[in-house]
Symmetry: none
Subunit: 193 residues, 2 copies
DNA sequence: TATCTAATTAGATGTATATCGAATTATAGA
DNA sequence: TCTATAATTCGATATACATCTAATTAGATA
């Protein structure tokens, strides 16, 4: 299971109102007005919660005339709740970084001009890390770079080399030792590129 | 398990960073700096997340020298993750809908003649529902009935099949779809029979 | 005791979201 | 077609929270 799916499932269940809805539906299907009445909330609020629960697949619905009945999918609930127990067991291994290639590509496209230079340094951590990884894609592992040399490399993309150089250290893409810079092993990177 | 504990557990796991921490610790204990390093976050952020995971009991810690190692408590994780599956199992019965069998039996006796036909349609809602449930006790769940077919079935008990058929819909014992009738799941019935 | 490092706390900031009321859509039935 | 009701959408608001930096605490050891 993907990291995002795990997160979304637990976010969905991590709300008192939604757990009360789950508890109600466990006894049998109900329609929206009935749920709203039983919980003392407005129908629009129930719609909001139902859609979150439906998004993660643990409830489905069936229309009967003018009324929509909501059902709890106990199998999905069980499957999702137990999924956290098997993370890191096989396919999750490659899941440490949860960005898909196409997402990374679109981030790069958004922040890199047609002439190859960097528009701005992203402020969102995820996007920033993708861009940082992109900027150093040509540097060689195991090779040491003088500060001046590194600055020149960064300047090909953006004039504010000092900020970017500092970010590269802070995000653990590189480390500095007595004035010399070197790439960290990719395992230490916050983003796999 | 209490509602709040359930909510807090799912809130705690419903965050990408914390799931990544769980994933890391599944491979073995780590100290704070190492986690921060591997995730590209500040140590204080790790403290924040660790405390949330510790609050719900799925992480414990042990000091070794100057370093505190954090461990994942897999048993607690498993217990908590499965807890959602057994909410509402403590038979909190709804007295409104739970007539005792002997009461239902006496209602049926009062309204059904010795030849099995229905004397009159009860006007009291509770009694009416008991009788309606009695009238359809032979119908099969999942089977669709033509209107004519349903009429014939009801006529065995009472001549005013139209009224009774309409009541069966209005009280959610059955539903109608494009001229065909079908039993609702018993969970929708206003009376459990 | 003084110092070093890991961990925590405190405060600030930006983002996410639970809830409501009002407006809108969808469907059944007249 | 018109009406009634259930459900949804939309915009607004208040709260929760993830993250950072800076400051502080705690423990080990010199």
């Amino acid at each position: 299971m993907q990291l995002d799916k795990l997160v979304n499932y637990h976010k969905a269940v991590g709300d008192p109102t939604r757990i009360r809805i789950i508890s109600l539906l466990k006894k049998g299907p109900l329609h929206g007005q009935a749920i709203a009445y039983k919980l003392g909330l407005q129908p629009s609020t129930i719609t909001h919660h139902i859609s979150k629960l439906r998004d993660v697949g643990i409830i489905y619905q069936r229309r009967q005339g003018n009324i929509i009945y909501f059902y709890l999918d106990l199998e999905r609930l069980e499957y999702n709740s137990k999924a956290i127990l098997s993370i890191g067991e096989d396919s999750m291994e490659n899941q440490e970084n949860h960005l898909q290639d196409k997402d990374k590509l679109s981030i790069v496209k958004n922040f890199i001009n047609s002439d190859g230079t960097l528009k701005i340094i992203p402020s969102q951590r995820k996007k920033k890390n993708v861009i940082l990884a992109y900027l150093i894609r040509d540097l060689q592992h195991g090779k040491t770079y003088q500060e001046k040399e590194l600055n020149e490399h960064i300047k090909k993309y953006h004039e504010d080399y000092a900020t970017i150089r500092r970010e590269l250290i802070m995000q653990h893409f590189m480390y500095r030792q007595s004035g010399e810079y070197e790439l960290n092993p990719k395992e230490m990177w916050p983003v796999i590129f």
